[in-house]
């Protein structure tokens, strides 16, 4: 059974279709790099997978169940364009809050461990509003991984991270994959994504036009896939 299955998903914003029958199957344990030009619909698709918006047409199932199910939602970790932490709470308080909402058993230990992993232990009690852009992104990563989700939906997770933070994120993602998690991440930093991805999906104007395993040539030449589909009529 595939972990995530989106079946001919359409999403209209008004009368404008941002997704036009996108179909995506992600087997459990895969790491999918979701590529596509600006405005292709990557964010829209990820938001639908994460239950943040409803598809206008089509069906999304996660582990064979409706994505709307509460138990399913507890197994998903989502990291969007916004970092999703409160500026007026400290890093630690933020994680405690999300731990409680995610039903994490020992929230304090989990929060401390998460801070440790992303290297924010030193600023544990600093307010998020005082963090630099990269530190905020690290906190957001810690938040998304807090409850050891089985499915990770990441929208441009490498944005604004420095080399170390990218290494940390890579490690976290590798750990998660080793534990059997399934990952879908959109990105424009193709190089960083390709190192991890086992699968690649290309979204173009609301449709998935290519899915397949990541081949070595993609790793060597990140622009390859885009060029493949360059000739397509606009």
């Amino acid at each position: 059974m595939s972990a995530i299955a989106a079946d001919r998903v359409w999403k209209y914003f008004g009368d404008y279709p941002a997704l036009r029958g996108a179909t995506l199957e992600v087997p459990a344990g895969a790491c999918v790099a979701l590529l596509g030009r600006n405005g292709a619909g990557k964010t829209t698709l990820l938001r639908i997978l994460a239950n943040l918006s409803k598809p206008s047409k089509g069906e999304v199932t996660v582990f064979g169940e409706s994505a709307r199910d509460e138990k399913i939602r507890a197994r998903i970790g989502y990291l969007g364009h916004g970092i999703g932490v409160y500026d007026d709470l400290s890093a630690f308080e933020n994680l405690i809050l999300f731990g409680q909402l995610m039903n994490v058993p020992d929230t304090k230990a989990a929060a401390n461990a998460a801070l440790e992993r992303v290297g924010l232990t030193r600023v544990r009690d600093g307010f998020a509003r005082e963090f630099s852009r990269g530190m905020r992104q690290r906190l957001a990563v810690a938040r998304a991984f807090l409850h050891n989700p089985e499915i990770l939906l990441l929208d441009e997770p490498f944005t604004s991270l420095d080399d170390r933070a990218i290494a940390v994120l890579h490690e976290l993602l590798r750990d998660a994959l080793a534990k059997g998690a399934t990952i879908v991440m959109s990105t424009h930093q193709i190089r960083e994504a390709m190192e991890l991805a086992t699968q690649v999906a290309l979204l173009e104007r609301g449709k998935i036009v290519h899915t397949g395993p990541r081949t070595p040539e993609m790793l060597a030449d990140p622009g390859w896939l885009y060029r493949m589909y360059e000739e397509k009529p606009q």
């Binding site: 209209y12 914003f13 008004g14 009368d15 404008y16 405005g39 206008s56 104007r205 606009q234």
Partner: protein
């Protein structure tokens, strides 16, 4: 098809209205106490009831939108509310004119006047909010919610104001209590029927505008996305 319906409803409404106005002003004698100004009743009351009728249509369509997510219902809801607002305004203005002649003042915070004004304000908020939401699905959803809230509020408004009821300037119900001359009933009923027809034609016109606007909107978005 829809165009034809608009013309038919419009022409029928206009003809009936002319005939009814003839009955009201030529056939009927003036009201005993008030003279000719009393005939304001024939627009004033039907306008109010027409407005209520279309508010009711709007709430039904709003619920239907939430259930089906079909934008047609949203269009009908907003068109109905706009038209109902117009008729509420007709009721307010005719009442105000009437009041100026009979009471010597344009307005007073009487229970009937206030609750009608409240009704107007409730739905005015609805009409103001709509254009301020950029995304169409969200606009339709939030509007539907507002329409439902407003409809739930109106009975409470009426109840509350009835209790509060300090000033009573406006005539007590005469229609139910038989205070109206029997000869006044047919033109009153016809008046209501006429206004309902005209309102239906207006709703249809508005619906067409809505559809066209949605099309333009999507074409423009399409252009941007390229």
């Amino acid at each position: 098809m829809r165009d034809k319906a608009i013309y038919i409803l419009g022409i029928l409404g206009t003809l009936l209205m002319i005939w009814n106005l003839h009955t009201i002003f030529v056939v009927l004698p003036g009201e005993a106490a008030q003279g000719q100004i009393g005939k304001m009743l024939f627009i004033h009351v039907p306008a109010a009831i027409t407005a209520y009728s279309y508010y009711a249509v709007a709430v039904v369509c709003s619920i239907a939108f939430l259930v089906t997510k079909n934008f047609k219902y949203d269009s009908v809801a907003v068109s109905s509310i706009e038209v109902a607002q117009v008729f509420t305004l007709v009721n307010l203005v005719t009442g105000s004119l009437w009041g100026h002649v009979i009471w010597g003042i344009w307005w007073t915070w009487d229970l009937r006047l206030t609750s009608q004004f409240m009704c107007f304000m409730l739905y005015l908020g609805y009409l103001l909010m709509r254009p301020a939401i950029a995304e169409a699905t969200q606009r339709a959803t939030m509007s539907a919610i507002l329409a439902i809230f407003a409809a739930a509020d109106i009975p409470l408004v009426v109840m509350a104001i009835r209790l509060h009821n300090v000033r009573t300037q406006h005539p007590a119900p005469v229609l139910e209590t038989g205070g109206v001359d029997a000869t006044w009933w047919p033109p009153l009923a016809t008046g209501y029927f006429v206004l309902m027809l005209i309102a239906a034609a207006l709703v249809l016109v508005r619906l067409r505008q809505e559809t066209v606007r949605r099309e333009i909107d999507s074409l423009r978005r399409e252009l941007h996305a390229m």
